[in-house]
Amino acid sequence: MDRREFLRAMGGTMMLPATLGAQSASRATVLYDGRAIVLNRATADGDALWIQTADLSSINGFELKPQGACREDICIPIPRPMINGTRFNLSAFAQRVGQRVVADPVMRVWSFGEIPVVRGAFLESRQSPDFSVPDRKGRLVRLSQFRGRKLLVVTWASW
């Protein structure tokens, strides 16, 4: 497999290119953490992306609670202007948590970088994220299945 094929294959597993095409005014795509999340009820105000609050957790794992936007032990207080009815200003949230964003509002796609506070939480706990990959027979294998054993996780790239 040459690199172009590899790129195509990798992208195909992480993102859904078929969704990039004629975009309706309420449709947007968010790229975050190697995934593409298609939102059907999002609105753009300039570069700012407003999403349905209910979609927040599917994007970055945060949920809106009375004390703020929370993910595990992390809670970020949310000022009122960031919420409008059922809508949530995802771009303002990114700015609040120091998350970088590259957007193409014309194509209705927003690419978000890592969230520093989430990375900081990893440094503190050092807990490996749980993920799954197919084995050689195509069966999904989760990292957490190996809890209780030492693991050496090896990835390869040609360079």
């Binding site: 992208g11 195909g12 796609v109 970088g113 996780v153 090896v154 790239a157």
Partner: protein
């Protein structure tokens, strides 16, 4: 080129990603040495398997944090641009993909991944571009293993 991460029985990352060679070899290319340090790495794994947290290769929290440095704004921006480029590439928007592939390389010129993915679209020029960058490198092409923490914890 293998990259290895060590994870203990509790799901805790013991060592972050680093070259995970299993054989030691030195070869030369374009007048520069390419060194793989497999024997040392395998010996370190064996030590950790036998001694667990007591192994000198099990990194302390301070040493782990030192090695997993926060990424700079440019590095994070490069990653976001690269993800966007891949997205446009799959969506058959080559001009938009090119714009963001190039931006990722400008923002983080030290990341070979961005160069090599972009160069894969112009395979006729890729070899010359790679060789040019390779020969200008001051650091080793394959990162040198840093198996044990520095004695005083300083850089």
């Amino acid at each position: 080129v293998p990259t290895g991460v060590w994870i203990d029985e509790r799901g805790r990352v013991v060592r972050p990603g680093e070259p995970a060679w299993t054989t030691s070899r030195t070869s030369t290319f374009g007048g520069k040495a390419l060194v793989t340090e497999g024997a040392e790495y395998v010996a370190a794994i064996r030590d950790w398997v036998a001694k667990g947290d007591k192994s000198v290769y099990a990194l302390s929290d301070a040493e782990f944090a030192r090695r997993v440095q926060p990424r700079s704004p440019n590095e994070v921006d490069a990653e976001a641009n690269f993800a966007l480029a891949v997205w446009f590439h799959h969506g058959k928007h080559p001009e938009l993909a090119k714009k963001h592939f190039e931006r990722a390389q400008q923002l983080n010129p030290d990341d070979w991944n961005y160069h090599r993915q972009d160069w894969s679209f112009t395979p006729g020029e890729a070899g010359a571009k790679w060789l040019d960058k390779f020969q200008k490198l001051e650091a080793p092409y394959y990162p040198k293993l840093e198996l044990k923490p520095k004695p005083d914890g300083r850089d």
